[in-house]
Amino acid sequence: MNESLYGVMAEFAQPEQLLAAARAAYQAGYRKMDAYSPYAVEGVAEAIGFTKTRVPLVVLLGGIVGALTAYGMQWYSAAVSYPLNVGGRPLHSWPAFVPITFELTVLFAAIAGLIGMLAMNGLPKPYHPVFNAPEFKLASQTRFFLCIEADDHIFNTEEAAKFLHSLGPLSVVEVEK
């Protein structure tokens, strides 16, 4: 097997073809593959076997940490560390703590989401092999690409190329690393 090969990529003209190709490839047993399109094509993510990310969980945890931090900080400063009588209200006046708690929940959740997303998708990535494919710049304009990657467990260069040819693509190219 060619060590410097990243994968085999097919180019399609229509989003429906990409969707059908992704489904067929999954059916044929391929698992390590990725689809590239100018806009989100409904159903493609599921078709290539993408189910869930853990980003929502990170966002939830960030939100909970933010809420606890904000409430704890206010309670500690207003009721424990520096007790201050404001208009005769109790030191631990929860209604006054709610706006800050809400704001920090949102802030922490958003920051956790951003960091979690970057940590899990590997961005920023200055180099990616798929850009070696000659027509790939069209992936942000009018074309739809499906790339079966070489480290897939049943990958074989000739068979993958033959399989992709059978799906009616505009072209099939081998992508160098």
């Binding site: 989003p15 409904e42 159903g43 209604p95 006054a96 709610v98």
Partner: protein
């Protein structure tokens, strides 16, 4: 689902609603003879609960005409059937007018002695109150009627015409202005010395939320029990779920803003409304509200799978609808029973009576048109 099955399903539900409504109405009328003050108090609560649905549905339709979007397209038939009940809701307002003296202290001139009240009598008097209410119903019902007529003339499949969009834009502004005064008249004036400028938002958010939750629930039920479920894109349910989250948060946001501002100010005139709700178990109602109309639906709707699953989404809708009934009870009942939490059996029967009749009419209108506009079913799937 074919049209026959759809209309026979509507007929079945219409009949059931009518039976429940009729039985509850008979019981309520018997109750009214013996306890007319309690009857009118229960009636105001029940009427506010059910009147929110057509008003909220009108807002859903106008919003959809202005902004587009498949979620609103899926609700258009349901919402149209709901806002067509507006004249009926207006007729049901007559008993409130008959019970004015049992409900609104200002109608007796009893507070004429209180300082700062006298000038309010220019606004809070029986003839002007009645005229204003008639005006709100007339204006909003006419807007609804025109929208329906113009859409019908144009046909289902074409995009919304300019005049429909323009009337929707004007209509939304008119709605907010009407509700600003209507919420003052119907609810705020129960405690005439009290005022809150954010109250109209609390009131309108409740109306919108109840209508959105009910329309979504009915759509989910039709989708879960028939082949209809396959024709509606999953994304529609997800969008409706997201809308519900947004408006649950909005309702909580404005409700809490009102509380926080009044609590911070702690001024005698403003705090009176919360003082009536601060003892005798009423705070537990507030806790139930916060759970049922914020924390529980918010937590449940975080899950995308639940939003996309009609049956599970419907359950969240029922949670919101139940909490919305409590919300209307919270707005009205503590004023009459400031000493402690008090639920009378008339609260239940009058609520059931109005609800039964309302649903019967809703299903009567619903079966007269296809549930989903052709436009929704024909839109090709793309990104």
């Amino acid at each position: 689902m074919n049209d026959m099955a759809f209309s026979s399903q509507c007929n079945r539900w219409q009949l059931r609603a009518l039976i429940v409504g009729a039985i509850a109405a008979v019981v309520s009328i018997i109750g009214a003879v013996f306890q007319h003050a309690q009857f009118f108090q229960s009636y105001l609560f029940a009427w506010l609960s059910w009147s929110g649905l057509p008003f909220g549905a009108l807002v859903i339709v106008m919003m959809q005409f202005l902004t587009g979007g498949k979620w609103g397209l899926a609700l258009r038939g349901l919402s149209t059937a709901a806002f067509r009940t507006l004249p009926f809701i207006a007729v049901l307002f007559v008993p409130v007018l008959l019970g004015l003296h049992d409900l609104y202290g200002w109608s007796n001139g009893a507070r004429g002695e209180a300082p700062g009240y006298h000038h309010k009598a220019q606004y809070l008097n029986v003839p002007f109150f009645t005229a204003r209410s008639v005006f709100y119903f007339a204006v909003l019902a006419i807007i609804g009627m025109l929208l329906r007529r113009w859409m019908k003339a144009r046909g289902d499949t074409k995009p919304v015409s300019r005049r429909v969009a323009a009337l929707s834009g004007v209509g939304l502004i008119v709605y907010v202005l009407c509700m600003n005064f209507a919420s003052t008249d119907w609810v705020m004036s129960l405690t005439p010395e009290w005022y809150s400028t954010v109250f109209v938002e609390v009131f309108a958010a409740g109306q919108f939320l109840s209508a959105l939750a009910l329309m979504t629930a009915v759509l989910c039920i039709f989708a879960a029990h028939s082949s209809l479920g396959d024709t509606i894109p999953e994304k529609v349910f997800q969008d409706l779920g997201s809308m519900l989250v947004a408006f649950v948060i909005f309702w909580a946001y404005v409700s809490f803003s009102q509380f926080l501002i009044i609590w911070s100010g702690n001024l005698p005139k403003e705090i009176s409304w919360y003082l009536a709700r601060s003892g005798g178990g009423w705070p537990w109602l507030a806790v139930a509200l916060a759970l049922g109309q914020l924390f529980l639906p918010f937590a449940l709707l975080l899950s995308r799978e639940r939003k996309r699953h009609p049956r599970r989404l419907a359950r969240v809708c029922f949670c919101i609808l139940g909490a919305n009934v409590l919300n209307n009870f919270w707005l009205v009942a503590p004023t009459f029973h400031p000493r402690g939490i008090y639920v009378h059996w008339l609260d239940l029967t009058v609520w059931l009576a109005l609800g039964g009749f309302w649903f019967a009419l809703f299903f009567y209108f619903l079966k007269q048109q296809p549930l989903l506009p052709q436009e929704l079913l024909e839109v090709p799937q793309h990104g």
